[in-house]
């Protein structure tokens, strides 16, 4: 032990950093900040370190070339000893990092930590969040599979909508006219050099400010932040009721960080790496691209926005959100910190949480996507065909063969793009059914050109069967007045 101490002394005589480090880690913090609520920032840093190390390990094998990236990922998964585990650690680490950064941000917001004098700490934190999301997106591109390829296409389609410079932005983003080798190379550069470099720099800045300004004290209702008095009050608090950060508060950070690392490892071990899915070959179009977990909400928003709102929302929305986040400490830099006295802040967090999780859940189900194989894969439920006439059975065939099933469910199987048709005969009369099939409308294509009169008649005959037992199909009450005997004289009518 004495030898170690001597070696340490030798180095410190030259480096002279032991004293400042000790001073930093033992600086007094308010005792009530030694809480489990204050562990997310350090956990994010530890996961970032894990990403840094596993990223370097992956780069030992990964080849950032559009022709070879996919096979190098396969080699990592299957040939390189424990390559799958390092990939899984990096993939799960990214999910955990985004989640922890978001939780950290929510905690900091609810505890009013962004208020005076910590405005810049918050602003740097917002930049760190954007970089973390940037790492998640560029990382998804480096997993160069079908999802990555078409995900880039979606990115390019969004970028192209920027007025005037859209086309140039797309070319700059892709590094050429199409998604190809140059595209992967520049996303590799972003993911491995540019964004991590910025992240390291901004993390240091963020930490430095936490040390210099002190950790945000536990907010008490009624303890108002005022620019004139806050700094003095804070120093008074740390002097009166403070304790050295190490070990008083740091042990919780250490425990939580180790727990998070363990959770990442467990997920990696148990669930394995993400993909790669199919080869990034644009001629294989039998694919249903979906973004990674943290961009699923965006995928849902893009499907649910009315078309006219889409471009403004895509281009203006992110700018407004980022500006709002950056301006927040200037708009409410003083006043109450406690969430107990800030109902709007609590409601905002709840609203965002509910909205994001709803959109994410919706995107997992993706009811707006046609089921491309339902027409040939999902059979018509037996009871819907029992006791049908030949014409109605022919209509059922038309229903399947014309891909109606891709968007309309029967018996809870099939697409959900359009309404389920189990009880359609109760909602629409024969005439309305014919009109809807032929002219479309309400987001349904018109089938007039693709159905001959016989097919339409058969299809509508089948659809008119679809009503719950004991509930009569819809009927045009005026028909009996218009047509003398009340019978339908048109072909296929008269039932």
């Amino acid at each position: 032990m004495r030898l170690i101490a001597k070696v340490g002394e030798w180095f410190d005589a030259r480096l002279q950093i032991a004293a400042p480090i000790r001073e930093a880690v033992e600086h007094p913090v308010p005792k009530n900040t030694a809480s489990w609520w204050y562990v997310f920032g350090s956990a994010a840093l530890v996961v970032f370190a894990l990403q840094f190390v596993t990223g370097i390990l992956l780069a030992l094998v990964y080849v950032p070339s559009a022709g070879e990236a996919w096979s190098s990922l396969q080699a990592l998964n299957h040939d390189v000893s424990l390559g799958w585990f390092i990939r899984a650690l990096h993939g799960w680490g990214s999910n955990f990092m985004v989640a922890i950064v978001l939780i950290h941000m929510m905690q900091v917001f609810l505890f009013g930590a962004y208020k005076f004098p910590r405005e810049l700490t918050w602003i740097v934190g917002v930049l760190l969040l954007l970089m973390t999301l940037g790492m998640a997106f560029t990382g998804q591109v480096l997993r160069f599979d079908q999802d990555a390829y078409w995900g880039l296409g979606i990115g390019a389609s969004i970028a192209s909508r920027v007025p005037v410079i859209g086309d140039a932005v797309v070319k700059l983003m892709l590094g050429g006219p199409i998604i190809a080798g140059a595209t992967l190379s520049r996303f590799f550069t972003l993911h491995v050099f540019v964004v991590p470099g910025l992240l390291i720099g901004f993390v240091c800045l963020h930490l430095l400010m936490v040390l210099k300004l002190g950790i945000n004290e536990w907010p008490m209702p009624g303890r108002i932040v005022r620019r004139a008095t806050y700094v003095g009050e804070y120093h008074e608090l740390t002097k009166r009721d403070g304790a050295p950060f190490l070990p008083y508060a740091a042990w919780k950070d250490a425990f939580f960080a180790a727990g998070v690392l363990l959770a990442v490892s467990a997920c990696a071990m148990y669930f394995g790496p993400f993909g790669p899915t199919g080869q990034p070959d644009p001629t294989i179009i039998q694919t249903v691209p979906k973004p990674d977990y943290f961009f699923l909400w965006l995928y849902a928003v893009l499907s649910l926005l009315p078309p006219s709102m889409e471009t403004p929302a895509l281009l203006v929305g992110p700018v407004v959100i980022i500006i709002a986040l950056l301006l927040l400490p200037f708009l409410s830099g003083e006043g109450e910190k406690s969430w107990r006295r800030r109902p709007i802040a609590v409601m905002t967090v709840l609203l965002l949480a509910v909205a994001l999780s709803t959109f994410t859940r919706l995107a997992e189900v993706a009811p707006w996507s046609p089921h491309m194989n339902a027409w040939s894969g999902d059979a018509i439920p037996q009871q819907m065909l029992a006791g049908t006439t030949a014409l109605e059975r022919q209509g059922a065939l038309v229903f399947q063969a014309k891909q109606c099933r891709n968007c309309h469910a029967l018996g809870a199987s099939g697409g959900e793009r359009g309404p389920a048709l189990d009880g359609v005969a109760v909602r629409l009369t024969q005439d309305q059914l014919i009109r809807q099939v032929i002219q479309g409308g309400g987001n349904m294509p018109a089938y007039g050109k693709n159905l001959n009169p016989a097919e339409t008649t058969a299809l509508v005959a089948f659809l008119q069967r679809l009503h719950p037992p004991g509930q009569a199909p819809a009927r045009d009450a005026s028909r009996g007045l218009v047509i003398d005997d009340g019978a339908d004289r048109r072909p296929g009518g008269g039932r």
């Binding site: 022709g67 797309v170 001629t283 039998q286 249903v288 078309p307 891709n406 479309g440």
Partner: protein, 180 residues
């Protein structure tokens, strides 16, 4: 100018040194910006587009729509499979053709052709198009992207080379809106 002796000789040299660095940095910025923006400037100068053959016209039966593939005219050595591109070729009759990009006009996902219902359907957000490429339903604001076509010596060639995106129509002709 004040004639106070506040600027020392070395102080002046330091300022000139900074200025010198600024001049050199500005001069260096020119080639650096040119390098970074080369993918944009090239599209203005030489252009990425050229005529590419999709094969003999007799490979495409009349009245049908088939998937064709071509190698992108502008290729880099590391492109691998990504430079192979697919498109939908519709032979109306005789030498009347329409060639559509597979990319949905909404956000670029690959659309699939269903001959039975005569629709192109997109798996992502549910855009649908009629057989002539015009918008049928869903979020797209326009019809499918269409490549300019030339028929030469019994071969069908298209003017292609750029990823078609909703904001840009350099390589693709916008469909006429359905008449009111």
């Amino acid at each position: 100018m004040s004639n106070d002796a506040t600027i020392s000789r070395r102080g002046l040299f330091l300022k000139i040194g900074f200025l010198f660095n600024g001049v050199v940095a500005t001069a260096l910025a020119v080639p650096i910006v040119q390098y970074v923006a080369s993918s944009i400037s090239r599209s203005r100068a030489n252009g990425y587009l050229s005529w590419v053959s999709l094969g003999r016209i007799n490979d495409f039966p009349e009245g049908e729509t088939r998937l064709a593939t071509f190698r992108n005219p502008y290729v880099m050595p590391t492109d691998g499979k990504t430079a192979d591109t697919a498109c939908w070729v519709r032979r109306i009759e005789g030498e009347q053709f329409q060639v559509f990009a597979v990319n949905c006009a909404h956000l670029g996902c690959p659309v699939r052709w269903f001959p039975q219902s005569g629709l192109f359907m997109c798996p992502c957000h549910g855009g649908a198009y009629y057989r002539d490429g015009s918008r049928a339903s869903g979020p797209p604001e326009r019809g499918l992207f269409e490549y300019p076509i030339k028929i030469q010596n019994g071969e069908i060639t298209i003017h292609a080379g750029e990823l078609p995106t909703p904001g840009q129509t350099a390589s693709v002709e916008p469909r006429k809106p359905p008449c009111a």
